[in-house]
């Protein structure tokens, strides 16, 4: 065998040996390119128009918010949801309902009809709460669209694997919601007045003793309402707030101490824009 033949054979051997590696590399490159070019579908649910957009590749959050620059949007109430997050939220809701059912069983065993019935009513409420599984921006709910493009951390990429996405925006809230252990859960007109006073008047009208109540503000903050607070100026009712009257700690059996906390965590995801109730949207 000549020297040239030896070199050719050696080269061929090396090429054959490396071919699986090269093929795998080529496949990975192709897969990466395919992933980078994967389309992402986002539905923008805004007052007066719902629009579905297909982006080539994974868009940044600013690419959504810029489309709403001329809209009259209440950004503290804006929520970005994906089907993945909504599924996680629904699992949490199911777990909370299961815990309430156990709690109701305990009250039944204790023959406490009042608390048993109240818990049953609460279970039905929780099942109906309009919740939207939004991403939070590390400090609070809602979006700050002008600051989003200033850093990559604020300007998330909307990953293809979590799609479809839904950006829900709405108008300024003119109401508050009162939920939990109240005889008249529902929506009430917002009024500028101290929170404890607002609550006290309605509890008096229902002829119920004051309960432990918390507010969940539209930006996701949770505060306990203390009607005996001497804080000056007193906490004012917040537009869009969710007021939750919960179980007094003394009435919770052992093992159920976190019931109120679990429900409050769900209420941070209250849908302020109605996007969870429209059929056909990713997070409905």
């Amino acid at each position: 065998m000549s020297r040239l033949t030896e070199i050719l054979v050696a080269g061929l051997t090396v090429a054959l040996a490396l071919s699986p590696v090269l093929a795998a590399h080529a496949q990975q490159t192709k897969a990466h390119q395919t992933k980078a070019q994967e389309n992402v579908t986002v539905t923008i649910d805004a007052p007066q128009h719902t629009q579905s957009i297909v982006f080539e590749g994974e868009p940044r959050l600013s690419q959504l918010t810029e489309r709403l620059r001329w809209q009259d949007v209440y950004w503290p109430g804006a929520r970005l949801c994906s089907q993945t997050v909504q599924n996680k939220l629904e699992a949490r809701r199911a777990a909370a309902v299961a815990q309430l059912q156990l709690l109701q069983g305990v009250y039944q065993q204790q023959q406490d009809d009042t608390l048993s019935n109240a818990t049953q009513a609460l279970i039905e409420q929780v099942k109906q709460w309009p919740l939207l599984g939004g991403y939070s921006n590390s400090t609070q709910q809602g979006l700050q669209p002008a600051l989003i493009p200033t850093t990559l951390q604020r300007n998330w990429a909307l990953l293809a694997k979590h799609q479809p996405y839904q950006l829900s925006v709405g108008e300024a809230p003119q109401s508050v919601h009162w939920v939990g252990l109240t005889q008249e859960p529902g929506e009430y007109a917002y009024a500028q007045q101290p929170l404890a006073k607002w609550l006290g008047e309605r509890q008096q009208a229902q002829q119920v003793d004051s309960t432990d109540t918390w507010e969940v503000t539209i930006n996701g903050n949770i505060n306990r309402v203390d009607e005996y607070s001497t804080q000056r100026p007193p906490l004012q009712l917040q537009p869009g707030a969710i007021l939750y009257s919960g179980f007094p700690a003394a009435q919770l059996p052992q093992g159920f101490a976190d019931v109120n906390k679990r429900l409050l965590e769900l209420l941070q995801y209250w849908d302020h824009n109605g996007g969870s109730q429209q059929e056909g949207l990713p997070c409905s």
Partner: protein
């Protein structure tokens, strides 16, 4: 208040920060963000339903911004030379008697006679519609929402010139405007103000600008009354554009940020630095 060391550091990095900001705006606006997928994957995974984060509130953000514009103890006002070298329009901004600072224009758009501008420091943004501050982000307290902007007659007024020949009935612009502002305080609590504005002409005057020199301007006074009976005046010194669908250029404006709800409430003054 920031100490001197942190202020000096801030001043030293300010031009760099602005460059980085503009670069970041460009990059993220173009969607060119290589190698971010994994980072964002982690962010998305950890912050989806990030309850602890959501509970934390906005206090930390407010603390971080104090050394930027609205509570600084020394002026950060770009010189004429720095303004000339700047590749953007710029404003001087100050609150009350605090020292002023420089903001750069990040976004500007005009649409059907409405001008929308977003002005930036490294970590704060002011959103200005036809010369009115309608939203702010990243300040210790922020205007989160201004209602009824579509009916705001300010843009109409900014294209007019007072004329003795026109009776009040013949004025082409509305003289009253109803609105509502949601102001988020540093505590995270929101104060809602329902307001009525009334507009009238002031006296034309001349204002000195850093790069364009003395400019003749019209003067518009907006008296704002809240439903609680508080009252203040916003003022606009401007040059009408006198073109169909044009928007007058505000050379200087003084606007009330909020009513005594925190140390940074007071009059916000915005002045042309680089046109």
């Amino acid at each position: 208040m920031p100490n001197n060391v942190s202020y000096r550091a801030q001043r030293a990095i300010a031009p760099f920060s602005l460059t980085v900001l503009l670069l970041t705006l460009f990059i993220s606006g173009c969607g060119l963000a290589p190698n971010q997928s994994q980072v964002d994957d982690d962010v998305s995974e950890s912050e989806g339903l990030g309850l602890d984060n959501a509970i934390a509130g906005s206090t930390q953000t407010a603390a971080e911004t104090i050394s930027y514009v609205f509570a600084q103890d020394t002026a950060n006002r770009y010189s004429k030379q720095e303004l000339t070298e700047l590749n953007s329009s710029a404003l001087y901004a100050k609150v009350g008697d605090n020292p002023s600072t420089t903001l750069v224009l990040g976004v500007t758009e005009q649409h059907n006679g409405v001008s929308l501008q977003q002005w930036y420091t490294a970590n704060e943004a002011l959103i200005v519609r036809n010369g009115r501050l309608i939203r702010s982000e990243g300040l210790p307290q922020n205007i989160r929402y201004t209602a009824n902007t579509q009916a705001d007659p300010l843009g109409c007024w900014l294209n007019q010139t007072p004329s003795a020949k026109i009776t009040p009935e013949q004025r082409p612009c509305a003289t009253r405007w109803h609105s509502q502002q949601d102001i988020e305080l540093a505590s995270g609590r929101v104060v809602r103000l329902s307001t009525v504005s009334q507009f009238r002409w002031g006296t034309p005057t001349t204002i000195n600008t850093p790069l364009r020199g003395a400019q003749a301007v019209q003067h518009l006074i907006e008296t704002v009354t809240t439903d609680a009976g508080h009252q203040w005046q916003n003022q606009y010194w401007f040059q009408p554009q006198n073109k169909p669908y044009g928007v007058g250029h505000v050379v200087k404006t003084e606007q009330q940020l909020a009513l005594g709800h925190s140390a940074v409430s007071g009059t916000l003054t915005l002045e042309e630095a680089r046109y």
